[in-house]
Each structure stands twice: as structure tokens, then as C-alpha cells.
């Protein structure tokens, strides 16, 4: 099983994702430069966090036009698994691979802190291995993580079970207080209708080793790995 982690100018969580997949989980993982036209032999693609192109104009707006994103689109259209984290989520929304958009946090401030996530759907390659009643504790670090979509889109996200994660408080309640950025319906992560493309603002790669104060993020990578193992195309 092989992973590719995209690298745009300004990506800065690329190495962190490589570290987790390679050193924590032990899978071959390579960086994929934004000027590449193919995802090669990768079985899954991670779009990491950071400030691609400085986040100028709108987050993710420039990165989505890079050659590699054409390849990612094709890969996703063919059912390939793609996970966008933070800036990766923003890029996927800009590219139209996920619905909605991520706008400025309502506090207008960048926020770096641990949040609690409720798993809204276990029916996805990104959440399949997370125990039923478990809420995750994972850090966020973003200035534009305020998920916005129109009412219709929100309805269809809910109808199709596309919401993956929602911000909750320590007790597991879905409150406004628990919402760090003003996202609609406390949304922290979603997937597409086909369920092979996922995006989330929190950083599971920063929560995959106990030495960093928590490893709930591992469950997300573990889900991805299990889903890949079960993919019929993979021996």
C-alpha cells in the first residue's frame, strides 16, 4: 500500500503527514510535487495542511489549478481515496471535489487548540475504524476554517450522510461554544457523495503519537488503511 502526499509551494504539514504514514504506520509514502501530472502508483492521496501560495486571494484558490490537482481529480473520479487536511480541505472545496467553502473564522483570529470531534458518520473510508461512541481529541490550527454552504447543500450533506466530523464540547454536546470558527452545523469534516474524497480542518497527523499529547488521530489513518486493504483492486 503506497501513499502520496502533495507538496505545493507553501505546504507546511507535508512532512508531518509523511512522518506519520511512513514512520508511525510504516507504509511507503512519497511527496508529490505540484508540477506532476500523475499521482503515479499511489493508492491514496493526502493533501496536507499549510498555506499553499501563501493563502493569497482565497485559501486553496491557486493550488487547485496546479497540474497535480488535475491528476488528483482524475484519481478521485476513478474512485481513488483522497483526504484533505486543513489547507487540503480548503483546496478540495475550491476545486469542487467537495461542496461548500471555508471562510474566515468568526473570531477573525487564527486558532490553534485541541478540539473534540463527534464522528457524525462512520460510513466512510476515513472514519470506519473509529469506535462507535468515541469522540476524538485532535488539534486545529487555522484562520479560515469556518465551513460555509447554502441551505440546500447542507440539507443534501445531511441527507447523504456526508458530514464526517462535528465540533462538540468535552461532554459530547453539539454547542455553539464548542464551535471554534463559526462553521455551519459545527461541521469539521465532510466527504463527497461517492465517499472517496474527504476533507477535515483538524490535524490528525499532529495527534498520532502519544509523545505529542494524544493519538486519537491515528484512528483516521487506521480507517484509511483498513479501507484500502478492503478495496477489491488491492491485493
Amino acid at each position: 500500500m503506497k501513499f502520496a502526499v502533495l507538496q505545493f509551494p507553501g505546504s507546511n504539514c507535508d512532512q508531518d503527514c509523511v512522518h506519520v504514514l511512513r514512520s508511525v504506520f510504516g507504509y511507503p509514502t512519497r511527496l508529490l510535487w505540484h508540477k506532476e501530472y500523475s499521482v503515479g502508483d499511489a493508492d491514496a492521496v493526502i493533501i496536507p495542511g499549510g498555506f499553499s501560495y501563501g493563502d493569497y486571494l482565497r485559501t486553496g484558490s491557486i493550488a487547485r489549478f496546479s497540474p497535480v490537482m488535475g491528476a488528483v481529480k482524475e484519481f478521485a473520479d476513478n474512485g481513488g481515496l483522497v483526504l484533505g487536511i486543513c489547507n487540503g480541505f480548503q483546496i478540495l472545496c475550491e476545486a469542487g471535489l467537495l461542496p461548500g467553502a471555508l471562510i474566515r473564522n468568526r473570531s477573525l483570529q487564527f486558532r490553534c487548540e485541541h478540539v473534540y470531534l463527534q464522528v457524525a458518520s462512520h460510513n466512510s473510508p476515513f472514519t470506519g475504524q473509529i469506535p462507535e461512541d468515541k469522540n476524538l481529541r485532535i488539534p486545529i490550527a487555522h484562520g479560515e476554517g469556518n465551513y460555509f454552504c447554502d441551505d440546500e447543500t447542507l440539507q443534501s450533506l445531511e441527507d447523504n450522510d456526508q458530514v464526517l466530523f462535528q465540533y462538540v464540547d468535552a461532554e459530547g454536546d453539539l454547542t455553539d461554544h464548542a464551535n471554534p470558527n463559526g462553521s455551519r452545523a459545527n461541521i469539521a469534516g465532510i466527504c463527497n457523495e461517492k465517499r472517496n474524497v474527504g476533507g477535515m480542518m483538524p490535524h490528525p497527523e499532529r495527534a498520532s503519537e502519544a509523545i505529542l499529547g494524544g493519538d486519537d488521530g491515528r484512528l483516521i489513518f487506521q480507517s484509511l488503511i483498513t479501507a484500502l486493504k478492503n478495496q477489491p483492486t488491492l491485493a
Binding site: P9, S23, G49, G54, F110, H114, A178, P180, G213
Partner: protein, 774 residues
């Protein structure tokens, strides 16, 4: 092109050069400088670049140890060995005046500048910290500066992708209008990756990389070396420098990639005095000369004069000297990263810094004289008059407390003591997935893993048997104490750093300092500087933490007078084993609370209340001789604590600083947030009735140095106390960690017993700055 103005005494003065200095230039050149050359001397001989007022003092710093690979002053930053062929490079630098004028961009470019210093050494920057000073938050203009500075640091660091893992913030009237912004960065490299800022190899081509040069921050170095007045802020020549962290991130990646090819003969960032400083310093270090043609330098506007191009401080630019014949590598790598580059000249053997414009000579100066022969001044120093009153202060008029209940709340709410979460939650402190202890404990702790080394992260194989390292970082300076006693206060700043490192389980290995002072021509202010440097030097020597580099920022004043003397000290330590990483908060109910160190200094007539937060907050008095700093005691305290931590006895450790023992205990009751809006509290029952003290206020809030609160399991408590005593450190059990449910801090003394709801104290402490900024 308009012709250059004639050199008149007025023009010389405008360039901040004294008539004597101008005489020196005439002598050095044997002729009159032209206008551009005058500009060059003005920046190269400014305090910022030449340290002309402080160089003599700085000689007193300890700069050597077996770990030192590159010592202070040799290069852009020092380098220390951390074992297994690995090394670190770190440095602190100020951006005070630019931040006063334009807080957001000033602070942002300050972070950018220090990061450049680090990757110029060949190291990959892996973390940042900062030290900030502002006026009081009740002043709306102070809030504007504070907000701007913090978001500027956040903007640059977050976007660049460097975790800002710690820092300090103080609020005091003396910084009104003249905030201090000291930024620190640390990078990692292998021994064989050390890069040099020297122009080696006659004939080697000189490259300029990075964005085009504009009229940004013209003569900023000179500006930093003037008193900050309304006028100088208004008339700062040139445009405000705007930082582009995205560009810098690319520039760093490209430079590290280029360095790995072995094609680089020398590399230097363009910081203060941009092209001027980088060309003449590289030539001076290389013992060579350098010749460039300005026509080849990328420019943002078509009509820039040589003077402007040479003195511009446009950001994110580097000067790189390439081994002849390997020019293609620069082209390949910088094109890959879509970065502008230009070949602008070459290394010569003449010893001269020669600048041409379209082939026409504009500057011809002896490089090493320009870089190294700036005048050196031994300024007059006289003890300030205010110190007589400080020393005369007694506690006579200060009634002791009957009930400390309200006082503790007031102190915790005081912005200087209150939680700085409003600040650090805006910083990405976890990017790079290395941060083991986040902001909020005594020191930040990060691990160094394979992808921290330049080049290693890109290798195809896993990280293998990479020997992970763990580092701790702290930055400290109680400038009130320095103001009241510069020598002792400076020593105390070093001791506090060392204590904070010890509390996190680390042994100090090196330090870097930022001297923020007023006008050195004022003998009283110069005395503060001189005494502080002496204190820092003694302190660093005592902890075997050689100074590997630093920065001087003088002329920090507002119309009311100078800032409190602020010799900011940052220290780095090594932690041997992940199991030794220790945080400040209480861990489990029933644990024993032990105080290491003498509760009160018997020889201190003020019992630790001199210059204390308590006197400032509750009695509105900023005076009194502060607690003495006994370096020998502090050193023993540190090694003893480390010994206890390494033998697995210690569950938590927190030193006593501003606000004294009571504030330290309260802080131990608040752990780091578990999650958003989710604090974790734990109570404590403290019995101080066995401690001899004439005054309750001194016992609870006095700032006697050399004290650390630790916790151990009940089972280990006797052993810990005995071991400490055996090492010569006073130690006594003072209480027990209490319940989580309805957590309360209870303190008993000979005169009474008081109880505080931890949640309530936490609210005052946690939300104070938030509320002030709302």
C-alpha cells in the same frame, strides 16, 4: 538620474554620523566619500550593524564550551553540538522600532529576519519563541500595538510553517509607544551542513535570490539606532517593509536544497542594510573583495538610485556565492521553486567592496575596514540617581495583609501574570508535529526527528534509527527587577531561564540575549546596560550556557523617558529522555507538594517584596531592592531538581516568579486546556504554618529567588526531600494535591487559613487579557 547631493556637515549629521566619525571616514578612505558611500557608512556604522557602543561590553560574555561549533560573532548565528553529529543554531533579534511604527508588518518582518539568520547557517528552522513588552492595556493605543504585533508574528510564523512554541509578555508603562518585539528562532542541522557567510574563492559568481528590491525600510538600521520620537516615526524614510512568509518559505527550501548540492561557497541573508551589509560582510569574512553591478539587481521600480538599491531592506532576499562552474544548479533549483534569481557580480581578490551601475563605478570601499573597523566607544556610565530612593525603600508604610483572598485574585488577573493564551492560541504551536510541551508550562519542549534535518525529510526511506533529541526553550526577563537593580536583575533573568529549563527536565547548553535599552549617550542609561551585561555574563557562565549570539537594541524611549532596561535572555536545554519531560501542573490527588529552596532570604530586609508584582498591583509602588540572585544556590537547585526528575521521582515542577509562592501554587492547580474551553482543575491543601515569616504578604507573594514547587507521589515524598537536602537544597513538604471535583486551593499559615475556588481563580487568570482586548 538626479545628481548626488554634495556632502555637507548637515548631510553627515542627517546620516547619524558625528563629525569625528566623518573625520575617521576621511582618514580611512584618504578621500571624500560620495553620497552613496556616505549612506553605506551610515548604516554599517550604526549601532544596529556595528555595535559601536556595546562591542567592548559584549566581550565579557562567555562564548565557549565544548559544544560550541560556531561561536558568537563569527557568523549570522552560533552553532552548538547536541550529539550524534547533530547541531542546533539559534538566535534572538529585536524589531522594536519597526513594530512601533507598523505593528503588524514590523513584528512579521522581525520573525522573517530571524528565520533567515537561521537557515543562512544551513539549518532548518524548527521552532520560534518571542519576548514582548507593551505599555498598559488600559491604553487603546497599546491594545492596537499589542493586537498588531501578535497577529503579525502569527501571520508570519504560521504561514511559514514554524511552530511558535513559547514566549513571554510583560505590560509596563515604560514601554508605552516603544514596544519591544524580540523574536527567536532555532534550527537543526548536521555538523557537515554548516554554511558560512564568507565570500570565498576569487572569481566565484555572486547571486542574488528572492524578490525584487524596492524602496522598503530604507536605512532601517540607522532608524533603529535613533531615539524613537514622533518625528522619527513620521519621517522614517522609505516605505514600510512588508513581509511575505510564503516567499521566505520557498526561499528557505530552495536554499537548503542548493546547500545540499555542495555548490555554495558562501551564503548570507540580506537583513539590515540589505545588499550593503551582505556584500561587505561576506567579503570581510572571506578575506576577499566583492564586485557587483546594480544594473543586474532585480528592482521593483525603474527609477531607483544606487543609494536606494544598496540601502533598501526589502525582505526575503539572499546573497549566495557559488563555486565557479556550478551556476546551473542555482538556476535549476530556483526555477523549480519559481523564485527570481540573478547573477550580479563576483568575488575578487582586491579586498574592496566595489559597486558599479551599468559598468560605472559608484562605490569603492575597503570591505573589511567597513565591516570591522567601526569606531568603538567606551561610553560614560554613572549610577542612576533613582537608585538611592529604591535602596532607601522600606516596608514601614506597607501594612501587612490580614486576609490574602482578594490579593491573590488581583495578582492572577494582572496582565503580566495572567495567562497568555490570547497570544499563543493565535500561533500555530504544533506544526511540524514535534511539540511535546505546548505554551503554558515553564518551558516549551520539542523533539528533533529526522525531518528536522535539512534534506533528510526528502529521502525515500523511512527515518531509520534516527537518534531523536529533545530540546527545551525558555525566554525570561523581569525588567522591573533589572530597573531596580541591573546587575542582580540580569543575573536573575538568566537564573529564571535555567530554572524554567530545569522544571521541564532540561540541562542548559547555550543562550542568546537581546539587550533592549535606552540611549547609550545618557550615562545613567549606559550604566544600566553595563551592569546588566555584567550580570548576564556571570549568569551564563554559572550555568555553562555560553552566549552564542544576540542582538542589541538601543535608543528605546518615549517622550517620558527610557524603557525599563530589558536584557531578554533566551536559553536552550537538552532533555536526555522523553520520560524526563516535566510540566508545571499538579497531576494526581494525594501527591505530595514540596518546596525546594529557601522560602525567604534572611538577609533581604524586604523579604522578597522589593520590585514585586504584589507591591505594584496592591500598593501601586514599583520600587525596593529586589531579591538577590545567588548563582551558586540557583545552580545547585537546578542540578538537584534534574537529579530528582531523572530518577523518576518528580511528577510536576514549577518555579516561583512574579507573584511569588501563592501565584505559583495557583498556576499548578490549572493544567493546560484539555480541549477547547475545557480546563482541568485540581485542588491543593497547603500548610505554611511551619515556615518562619514576619509577614504574610512576603510569605505568599514575595519574590525571593531560587524556589521551585514540585510534586511527587506520596510514596516518594520522603525520599525526594531527603535527596534534595543531601544535595544541599532546602526542601520541605508544604502540602498535598487535592481533589478534582470542586477543586479548591487552601492555604494555612500561622495567622489564618484561606480557601479559593480554583475555577474562580482560573477564570480571573485565563480571561484577563481576553477581556482587556474585547
Amino acid at each position: 538620474m538626479p545628481s548626488d547631493p554634495a556632502i555637507t556637515p548637515e548631510l553627515v549629521a542627517e546620516h547619524n554620523l558625528t563629525p569625528e566619525e566623518y573625520e575617521g571616514i576621511l582618514e580611512l578612505l584618504g578621500r571624500e566619500p560620495n553620497y552613496t558611500e556616505l549612506g553605506i557608512f551610515s548604516v554599517m556604522w550604526s549601532e544596529h550593524c556595528s555595535y559601536k557602543n556595546t562591542r567592548a561590553l559584549l566581550k565579557g560574555f562567555p562564548t565557549q564550551s565544548p559544544r560550541v561549533l560556531v561561536a558568537a560573532g563569527e557568523e549570522n548565528a552560533g552553532i552548538l553540538d547536541i550529539g550524534d553529529d547533530l547541531a542546533i543554531s539559534f538566535k534572538i533579534e529585536s524589531h522594536n522600532h519597526p513594530s512601533a511604527v507598523e505593528p503588524f508588518q514590523g513584528a512579521a518582518t522581525g520573525v522573517g529576519g530571524i528565520i533567515r539568520d537561521i537557515f543562512t547557517m544551513g539549518a532548518r528552522p524548527v521552532c520560534a519563541i518571542n519576548s514582548l513588552r507593551f505599555g498598559e492595556l488600559s491604553n487603546p493605543d497599546v491594545r492596537r500595538l499589542f493586537r498588531g504585533v501578535v497577529s503579525g508574528i502569527a501571520h508570519y510564523g504560521n504561514c511559514f510553517g514554524i511552530p511558535t512554541v513559547g514566549g513571554e509578555v510583560y505590560f509596563d508603562k515604560s514601554y508605552e509607544g516603544n514596544p519591544l518585539v524580540n523574536a527567536f528562532a532555532l534550527g537543526v542541522l548536521r555538523h557537515d551542513q554548516i554554511a558560512r557567510g564568507a565570500a570565498k574563492g576569487v572569481g566565484n559568481p555572486v547571486f542574488y535570490v528572492g524578490p525584487a528590491t524596492g524602496r522598503d525600510g530604507l536605512a532601517g538600521a540607522a532608524f533603529a539606532s535613533q531615539d524613537l520620537t514622533e518625528e522619527s516615526a513620521e519621517h522614517q524614510r522609505g516605505a514600510v517593509q512588508v513581509g511575505d512568509p510564503f516567499m521566505e518559505k520557498l526561499c528557505m527550501e530552495a536554499c537548503l536544497e542548493l546547500l545540499a548540492t555542495g555548490a555554495v561557497a558562501g551564503i548570507q541573508d540580506m537583513g539590515a542594510a540589505g545588499l550593503t551589509c551582505s556584500t561587505c560582510e561576506t567579503a570581510a569574512r572571506g578575506g576577499t573583495g566583492i564586485e557587483i553591478d546594480l544594473a543586474k539587481v532585480p528592482q521593483r521600480s525603474p527609477d531607483m538610485t544606487p543609494y536606494e538599491i544598496l540601502l533598501s531592506e526589502s525582505q526575503e532576499r539572499m546573497l549566495i556565492i557559488i563555486e565557479q562552474g556550478r551556476e546551473e544548479e542555482v538556476k535549476r533549483i530556483f526555477d523549480k521553486w519559481d523564485l527570481p534569481w540573478a547573477e550580479i557580480g563576483n568575488v575578487t581578490g582586491t579586498g574592496q567592496m566595489v559597486v558599479k551601475n551599468h559598468g560605472q563605478m559608484v562605490v569603492d570601499l575597503p570591505a573589511s575596514k567597513l565591516a570591522d573597523d567601526a569606531p568603538i566607544y567606551h561610553r560614560e556610565a554613572t549610577e542612576p540617581k533613582y537608585l538611592a530612593a529604591v535602596r532607601a525603600f522600606t516596608l514601614e508604610g506597607i501594612d501587612d495583609l490580614d486576609d490574602p483572598t482578594a490579593a491573590l485574585g488581583k495578582l492572577l488577573k494582572w496582565p503580566t501574570i495572567a495567562s497568555k493564551n490570547w497570544v499563543y492560541r493565535q500561533y500555530d504551536h504544533m506544526v511540524r508535529a514535534n511539540t511535546m510541551v505546548n505554551p503554558g508550562s515553564d518551558a516549551a519542549v520539542i523533539r528533533i526527528k529526522a525531518d528536522s534535518i535539512p534534506g533528510a525529510g526528502n529521502s525515500k526511506d523511512g527515518n531509520g534509527d534516527f537518534p531523536e533529541k529533545i530540546l527545551a526553550l525558555a525566554v525570561d526577563c523581569n525588567a522591573t527587577h533589572v530597573y531596580l537593580d541591573p546587575f542582580e536583575g540580569a543575573k536573575a533573568a538568566v537564573a529564571e531561564c535555567a530554572r524554567n529549563l530545569a522544571c521541564s527536565g532540561a540541562t542548559p547548553i547555550g543562550s542568546t540575549d537581546n539587550l533592549n535599552f535606552g540611549n547609550p549617550h545618557n550615562p545613567e542609561l549606559f550604566w544600566q546596560l553595563k551592569e546588566s551585561v555584567r550580570g548576564l555574563a556571570e549568569g551564563c557562565a554559572a550555568f555553562d550556557a555560553p552566549v552564542t549570539g544576540g542582538n542589541v537594541s538601543l535608543y528605546n524611549q518615549n517622550p517620558e523617558g527610557a524603557i525599563d532596561p530589558t536584557p531578554t535572555m533566551a536559553m536552550v536545554g537538552l532533555i536526555e529522555d522523553a520520560a524526563h519531560v516535566t510540566t508545571q501542573w499538579f497531576k494526581d490527588e494525594g501527591d505530595a507538594i514540596i518546596l525546594l529552596g529557601e522560602p525567604l532570604d534572611a538577609e533581604d530586609a524586604l523579604h522578597g517584596l522589593g520590585g514585586s508584582a504584589f507591591l505594584q498591583v496592591l500598593h501601586d509602588q514599583k520600587t525596593g531592592t529586589p531579591s538577590r540572585c545567588n548563582l551558586e544556590t540557583e545552580r545547585t537547585l537546578g542540578t538537584t531538581l534534574l537529579g530528582l526528575i531523572q530518577s523518576g521521582l518528580v511528577k510536576g515542577a514549577h518555579d516561583c516568579a512574579e507573584g511569588g509562592l501563592a501565584v505559583a501554587l495557583a498556576e499548578c492547580c490549572f493544567s493546560e486546556l484539555e480541549g477547547r474551553n475545557t480546563p482541568r482543575f485540581i485542588g491543593a491543601e497547603i500548610d505554611l504554618s511551619k515556615l518562619k515569616s514576619e509577614r504574610l504578604d512576603a510569605l505568599l507573594f514575595g519574590e525571593t529567588l531560587g524556589r521551585i514547587v514540585i510534586t511527587t507521589s506520596e510514596l516518594d515524598s520522603v525520599k525526594a526531600v531527603e535527596r534534595a537536602k543531601l544535595m544541599g537544597v532546602p526542601a520541605r513538604r508544604i502540602g498535598t494535591v487535592g481533589e478534582v471535583k470542586g477543586a479548591a486551593l487552601k492555604i494555612k499559615s500561622t495567622t489564618g487559613e484561606w480557601s479559593w475556588e480554583v475555577a474562580r481563580l482560573h477564570d480571573l487568570w485565563w480571561n484577563s487579557i481576553d477581556n482587556a482586548m474585547a
